[in-house]
Symmetry: C2
Subunit: 340 residues, 2 copies
């Protein structure tokens, strides 16, 4: 048996199906790709491929369509990444370089990715738990409320208002701010919790209840997971490629809106060392609303360390080579910007 040719056939089927949206038959296959054999031979190969679960036919006497498993092989072994045009590269580069902020960077990134791939783009904010504290700012707002601003080394700014003891004086706040920063600066955020526990001890006994009201509120807000955030763009692209979702796009939209689902999905993915990206195809995303969707992601960060992920979500029938290239390229550009 000729395994090589069979894989070529699979590749040809995927490519044709992706570009035409139609089940592909043995005849057009030999016409479009010069396989050097007759349709009958191809048919035998296709029968085997179908047995092995790489392709399927929608109905008897229709052409073949790749299965999730077929796409998987295609992505892993059969495709070569299609690099971006220099115009595209330049566009990304200048767009991102104009950003003023982390917020701004991620905003621009997600838009670029959506436009580039014509799919839904998603960019995760740098993970808080893996960040270190750069600065903590306390701003009393009066009437027992205080604003806490947390700035991480990655430039992420989280803010939260907390309820504190109204008797808190500016002096105590000032001292607390100084001590908090001295103790927390440069430390990973994960240790700040236990740090807060011991902090009141160093204050004068009469101030401790006040201090505790602040540290308590802080601990609370660290505990409640507002932890991970993300930005989305390009949902309209879903509707445009609507025919690619057999049933309807609404389960996909629901999954997207349920940000927790997406965030978990992103966190679960790890980059393939070779390609630098990670691909989840159809049912591999365990969420059932995403059974007809694929997710292509890549980590980004500074200095080789991954601090968050970004990627796109689209129909399983997507152009993997160009999508993968786009995701990888964008991830690199963002990393460069973040590092600089």
């Amino acid at each position: 048996m000729n395994t090589d040719r069979r894989l070529s056939v699979l590749r040809a089927i995927v490519e044709d199906y992706v570009s035409t949206r139609e089940p592909v038959g043995s005849k057009v296959l030999v016409e479009r790709h010069n396989l050097g054999v007759s349709p009958a031979t191809i048919r035998n190969d296709m029968a085997v491929l179908e047995d092995e679960g790489y392709i399927a036919q929608p109905h008897t006497s229709a052409g073949r369509v790749p299965t999730d498993k077929g796409y998987r092989i295609f992505v892993d072994k059969l495709s070569t990444v299609k690099p971006l045009s220099t115009a595209e590269r330049r566009a990304i580069s200048t767009l991102l370089s104009e950003a003023v902020d982390l917020d701004d960077v991620l905003e621009r990134t997600v838009r670029a990715l959506a436009r580039l791939t014509n799919q839904v783009a998603v960019v995760q904010y740098p993970s808080l738990s893996r960040s270190t504290v750069r600065h903590v700012e306390l701003v009393p707002l009066g009437s027992g409320r205080m604003l806490v601003v947390l700035i991480t080394d990655t430039g992420r700014v989280e803010q939260r208002t907390v309820d504190v003891d109204p008797a808190l004086t500016d002096d105590v706040v000032g001292e607390l701010r100084a001590r908090l920063n001295a103790a927390a600066s440069g430390r990973p955020l994960s240790v700040v919790g236990s740090l807060l526990e011991t902090l009141p001890e160093v204050f004068r006994p009469e101030d401790r209840p006040l201090v505790r009201s602040v540290t308590g509120a802080l601990e609370d807000s660290l505990a409640t997971e507002r932890e991970d955030r993300m930005v989305l763009a390009g949902t309209a692209n879903l509707a445009r490629s609507g025919t690619d979702f057999p049933s309807s796009i609404s389960p996909v939209l629901e999954a997207i809106e349920e940000q927790v689902v997406l965030l978990r999905l992103l966190s679960d993915m790890a980059d393939d060392p070779a390609s630098g990206v990670s691909v989840r195809i159809g049912h591999e995303n365990l969420h059932e609303g995403l059974a007809d969707a694929s997710v292509v992601t890549s980590g980004y960060g500074s200095g080789g360390e991954v601090i968050a992920r970004l990627g796109v979500l689209g129909p399983t029938r997507m152009d993997y080579p160009t999508t993968i290239a786009a995701v990888r390229a964008v991830a690199r550009y963002v990393s460069r910007i973040i590092s600089g």
Copy 2:
């Protein structure tokens, strides 16, 4: 001629069409609503209503469907708001009362509104231009960058990093912070721009360039409109009621994603004094992607003053009475929370 009955007919048509999704004919009309006359009579009324542009038929010998103009009359004159159930009220109330933050309040609000109406919900952040400054915080980040945090009286927190002269010392920053707050606190944000112009004058001549590098950056970031923000929820509802958008939902999704469009739309609307809400039907939203959509909004704020708007977006064929009730109720609850 019997104008009253004709309006009843219009109302009946709207109600039936909204609940059945099907063009409604003279026969079912007299069956379902007891109009006390024969189908033939209704037909005459319908002919007149059609001449006047309130209803239309998709094809000859189909039933009638309300036009935008028909819905307009229905909303203005023919419908009575359908109040929320007490269970719903209680749900909103408790959900909102658990919020810790302005961010949190708006997040919860938009979710509640989406769930309540099964449509796309949108909540505008309190307008910056109509807010006054409560506090400005300057946090030097080192290496020529500084974080500016702006807190308004409505609890909105905007942050932005700006590039400044690296030679800036903590002393100058401290003085600037104090003077800035002294000058800006309690003043409307709209005057802060001109205030920044004159601020450097009061500093020692040798510090003025440094100060200018800060105020310049601040003016820049005030000028660039990141001004208005909003939160969205319930886009998946669009897909579920997909059949109500004759062509496709993708233009609607695009309009939503183009947040500027929505924000302008919201700003352009003003509440009807009687009902407390504002309704835009179909082509009344000038954006052409929203030709088959209606928008129902209401202002919210504290102490009777409107500081922003919230509302929902759905198909023109929507249940106006309950939608209007929901929007109004939610706006009231948010206002109460914000005021408290």
